[in-house]
Symmetry: C2
Subunit: 338 residues, 2 copies
């Protein structure tokens, strides 16, 4: 049933890049967009891997994203940089903003990057991991489409509004987490609908605001935030700081603009970077060890430390390559056929 095709990182990158080129994406965008899609497949696949290439293609075909976008870096303030993505995909814009963010965070101790006017199709962990690999603490968030009702409500206001965090660990992969502030992703609800399975409790409400486990009812009603009113508050914070605060759209505005076409959410992303050595000062070695002791206390009792599974998948992919579903590869091939 699950027929797969073996790919090395190199062969899959070549396939992704050739497809993006064939779709007409401007040359400057091809490596950063391919990096993100490849990283998703390498680190565990699923909905954030090669599958995203289909979403990128759809977004380009509908003209929602500007395939020829020329991102522009703007120095907003001593500790702030903006990249206007010119309506294109986020990865190139982020790549151009990152060195300025890093430089500003090192100079001032803390800095913020706003990527504006971008089509956002990817997870946020690659961005905070990149910040952390520069030795900086990273926090990133972005709104999406207003599918998620506030706790106690019934009408979508928030997006799935992911929040991601990265912490550099000397000699180790950074500690990274990245999750939607909705109880589940839209994709998870779709998967349950297709499989005819009821949803777990707490994922959503019907159009009258009543809790339901019916995927159809939730898709016609609203999704719910994780963690009740506390998760709802975090979702509101993401909406504000990665929407209006950076001069960009809310999830409601982004969804209205999409008009039901189902393209990648357009809008902004906020990334904050902090140089941990500044506040730590002469205690740096000791405080880094205190953080490591906390990680050890988590894994030592058998609890899961976010990102370890992702890094394990990455090591496997680097050593053995990946098994990619043939059906997905067929869909990718079909993008350039006819």
């Amino acid at each position: 049933m699950s027929e797969t095709v073996h790919h090395s990182l190199e062969s899959l990158r070549a396939l992704i890049e050739a497809t993006l080129r064939g779709l007409g994406l401007a040359e400057a965008h091809i490596p950063p967009v391919a990096d993100i899609i490849l990283a998703g497949e390498r680190d565990g696949g699923g909905s954030h891997g090669l599958y995203r290439l289909l979403m990128v293609a759809k977004t380009m075909r509908m003209g929602t994203a500007n395939a020829q976008a020329v991102p522009k870096v703007v120095d907003v303030a001593p500790a702030m940089v903006r990249v206007d993505a010119d309506g294109g995909f986020a990865p190139l814009a982020f790549q151009l903003g990152l060195p300025v963010l890093v430089e500003k965070a090192r100079a001032g101790g803390i800095a913020a990057l706003a990527v504006n006017n971008c089509a956002h199709f990817s997870a946020l962990w690659p961005d905070v991991e990149a910040v952390a690999r520069h030795g900086l603490v990273g926090l990133a968030c972005t709104p999406s489409h207003a599918w998620v009702a506030p706790a106690g409500g019934r009408v979508g206001v928030f997006g799935t509004n992911p929040i991601a965090f990265g912490w550099p660990r000397p000699g180790k992969d950074p500690f990274v987490f990245d999750f939607a502030t909705s109880a589940a992703s839209r994709g998870d609800i779709e998967l349950h609908r297709r499989a005819g399975k009821p949803l777990p409790e707490g994922w959503g409400v019907d159009a009258d605001g009543k809790p339901t486990t019916s995927p159809e009812a939730v898709l016609a009603g609203a999704m719910l935030p994780f963690g009740g009113h506390k998760g709802s508050a975090i979702a509101a914070m993401v909406e504000l700081i990665a929407g209006p605060m950076i001069g960009d759209m809310t999830s409601a505005e982004s969804m209205a603009r999409d008009g039901g076409r189902g393209s990648a959410p357009l809008g902004g992303e906020l990334v904050i970077a902090i140089d941990p050595t500044r506040f730590m000062g002469p205690q740096e070695v000791d405080r880094v060890q205190a953080a490591e002791a906390m990680f050890g206390a988590i894994t030592g009792q058998g609890a899961r430390l976010p990102s370890l599974r992702r890094y394990a998948a990455r090591r496997r992919s680097e050593q053995e390559g990946m098994q990619v579903p043939r059906a997905l590869l067929d869909e990718v091939a079909a993008l350039l056929a006819g």
Copy 2:
């Protein structure tokens, strides 16, 4: 049964200040500590109101907090300021750091304040509300004592690790939330224990890591984060950025130092301030309206907007004064007796 005594804001402030003076707190600390305790009682009372005066007294008597502390402001970096609280209570240190934080956030766009080496007895909302009343977006967090196991674990690693956020609203009270990243507060569990009531599901585990609704078992085992593995990740973030990142203690270190004496957690607090007008630029009026539209979409469907209850209580207290439990006033009076 619930015998209460009427107090105006003025009379209660006088009582709090006289008590702090009688306890031997240095004069410079009295107004800021009294402000925080009074604000808690004014905005709804309960465990964050006058009750905290008992905790402050206990912490002073045990010598865990330095009653004569002289906080020192240190300019760490262009966008970072530190206040060494000298082992004293946090409010004076925060008050001294706030104007520098505000100035740095206006100059650079974003800035961070670390309050180090302080005894933290209060909620965080007064701090982010103060930041928001300067027209800035505020985020604050602090570790506490390691009572909270990571999701899937059984041994305390995190504190109740509150996170607070403030967003300025023109002509209105700021949008503010402040909550523990544990499923419940330690005080809530104590209240259930005293009342002999079972806990709601999900608040904690026993010493073997098994879910339990017994308050005694949770107090002997561990509390749990809100919202499963997502809340657990947020708790870890708070632990890292308001502990080691600012050169201060983790919740485990703070608890070890307390040695079971039950004083206010000693450690640090991180406050980040962002000037929202910088990224908004010429779109400021329009983007502020987009944020207001989001608030309207929440309240318009009957969902709760955090902080509205608190402001309603504040208006009532300002107009009518407060009914304070006589038993609590008796306990406060007893602090100076004998």
